[in-house]
């Protein structure tokens, strides 16, 4: 850690540099923090260490080639990156999707949501450090559960994180025989485990002292900054694209949108825990109601390499585990895309960090940053 000393008005103010390589920053993120004693006066964030020019790449690849590249953006929830892009291309090319494929997409997206929130839960508790029994206990518990989800994905699609499952007109792989048993076993087991974790964490006075009334984000500020997902819902706004603008078959399922009015670190944590429970509900309904039929309207999948798009502009968004994940496409009627804008949620969620950290204590930096759940592949694109 590099420290510069600055003296002013008789008090000592320090510029502390955090990152770009820092275990608690969940990726490569650098902050210059000006502290007066323990209180933060100013924060200058620096992003872009993982910038890969994905939007420019999209102008040179065909949509079919571009789809697996999108997986690598928010690498913890790859399905929710493919989802809006597939929806947008289907709208531009007038492709319809069979109902079974819609169900499979929802199942994959909700399983990914649980696995992504488990990574948040584990790393967040790891950041809280010694307060939680040596730190890595909860982290290993969360990753143990996540492993089971990744095993299901491996059996289903052949890969664990970058599924490349959704394709234009449906999905690429059908579920295997015995999938519903695997899923139901996991859900039954996981439901009990969540209760266990909640009991462990939420009765811990150290955890509560470090999260409650820390990093308060009022809802007006959250909306001005374009925060979405659990960050917005943690500030008391009940906004979820699955309910607000139901895409795919989300209007067929019954679920709630958890939200808490406090806007502190604890509410953002609690929203994610409750969202996992809602995902369990959706998954149970989806696996019961899954219809039979084709999984893709453009069979065979592998031959279809170019899709003719009509001229126009389209914006499609889905609710990823981190918020509103949108794709805005401008097409000029060729096979490629003229311009593709990825509205990745964590870029907007992270932009609120100078506001949140101003006036906070230096010990709370890691808790506040962790509660925003940034993924730097998603921020920098």
């Amino acid at each position: 850690m590099e420290i510069n000393r600055v003296e002013s008005n008789g008090f000592e103010e320090l510029w502390v540099n955090m990152g770009p390589q820092h275990p608690a920053s969940h990726g490569v993120f650098r902050m210059q923090i000006k502290v007066d004693g323990e209180v933060i006066k100013e924060v200058i964030p620096h992003i872009g260490y993982l910038h890969r020019g994905v939007e420019k790449l999209g102008e040179f690849l065909t949509p079919v080639q571009f789809l697996p590249v999108l997986d690598r953006n928010d690498y913890l929830s790859s399905v929710s990156n493919e989802f809006p892009f597939a929806l947008a291309i289907e709208k531009l090319a007038n492709i319809n999707v069979p109902e079974r494929a819609e169900y499979l997409r929802v199942i994959a997206a909700e399983l990914m949501r649980i696995s992504s929130h488990l990574v948040f839960f584990g790393t967040f508790c790891l950041d809280m450090g010694g307060a939680l029994g040596g730190g890595s206990t909860i982290f290993l518990y969360a990753f143990r559960e996540r492993e089971k989800i990744l095993d299901i994905f491996e059996k289903w699609t052949g890969s664990r994180m970058h599924l490349n499952l959704i394709t234009f007109g449906g999905v690429r792989y059908d579920i295997y025989p015995g999938f519903d048993k695997d899923l139901k076993d996991f859900l039954k087991d996981f439901e009990n485990k969540i209760k266990e974790y909640e009991d462990m964490i939420e009765n811990n006075p150290v955890f509560l002292a470090r999260t409650k009334k820390v990093g308060i984000l009022p809802k007006e500020i959250a909306m001005e900054y374009g925060c979405s997902g659990p960050v917005l819902r943690g500030s008391g706004v009940k906004f979820d694209l699955r309910k607000a603008k139901p895409y795919s078959v989300y209007n067929k399922f019954e679920f709630e949108i958890p939200s808490f009015p406090d806007g502190d670190v604890y509410s953002r944590y609690k929203v994610r825990i409750l969202e996992m429970k809602e995902s369990i509900k959706i998954l149970r309904q989806a696996i019961e109601g899954i219809p039979s039929g084709p999984i893709n309207s453009l069979m065979p999948v592998k031959v279809k390499t170019s899709i003719k798009l009509k001229e126009g502009e389209v914006y499609e968004a889905v609710e990823s585990p981190r918020g509103e994940n949108g794709v805005y496409i401008v097409s000029d009627g060729r096979f490629g895309l003229y311009r593709v804008k990825l509205r990745t949620p964590t870029f907007y969620n992270l932009s609120v960090i100078p506001y949140l950290l101003k006036g906070a204590l230096i010990a709370d930096v890691v808790a506040i940053l962790g509660s925003l759940d940034p993924v730097f592949g998603d921020v920098d694109r």
């Binding site: 992003i47 872009g48 910038h51 020019g53 939007e55 420019k56 040179f60 007006e220 500020i221 909306m223 001005e224 900054y225 374009g226 925060c227 706004v237 906004f239 607000a244 603008k245 126009g312 502009e313 914006y315 509103e324 949108g326 805005y328 401008v330 003229y338 311009r339 804008k341 509205r343 870029f347 907007y348 932009s351 609120v352 506001y355 920098d380 694109r381």
Partner: protein, 141 residues
């Protein structure tokens, strides 16, 4: 919602074209102040598109109470500036920095207009159509 669009059309000479409201860039501040008062206080994203000799800036706003989304567009010629929205929406800060970084569009009265994703000594703006993707980065080491 229809009334709002009619009001916008008569007040600010906005035209409507395939779901996009096209406005003149001189009136940007009045229009967005008006929309914010009407409840469109969720700034979803700002982006730009480069055509051969001009840019288009696209603004997306949401009203969460009535669950509506609105897209606004304006034309910016090469070497022209546009007024920053940072006073009205604080989140415009990073979004406008991103556009400045990738397109080179300058925003007037922006508090901190620096590159955000690319290094500060980078030359060129990658999302312009005349940028070649094999351009080397000079200061690479």
């Amino acid at each position: 919602m229809k009334e709002l669009i009619e009001e916008l059309k008569s007040k600010f000479k906005i035209e409507e074209k395939d779901n996009f409201l096209i406005f003149e860039k001189e009136k940007i501040k009045e229009i967005f102040k008006f929309l914010k008062e009407k409840g469109f206080n969720f700034l979803s994203f700002i982006t730009a598109i480069h055509y051969k000799d001009y840019f288009e800036a696209v603004y997306c706003l949401r009203n969460i109470n009535i669950n509506e989304i609105i897209f606004l567009k304006t034309k910016i010629n090469e070497n022209e500036e546009i007024e920053s929205l940072c006073e009205i929406y604080k989140g415009a800060n990073w979004m406008e920095r991103e556009i400045y970084d990738l397109f080179g569009i300058k925003f007037k009265n922006h508090p901190d207009l620096r590159r955000i994703l690319l290094p500060e000594d980078y030359e060129g703006h990658p999302l312009r159509k005349d940028f070649r993707i094999d351009t080397p980065y000079k200061n690479w080491r």
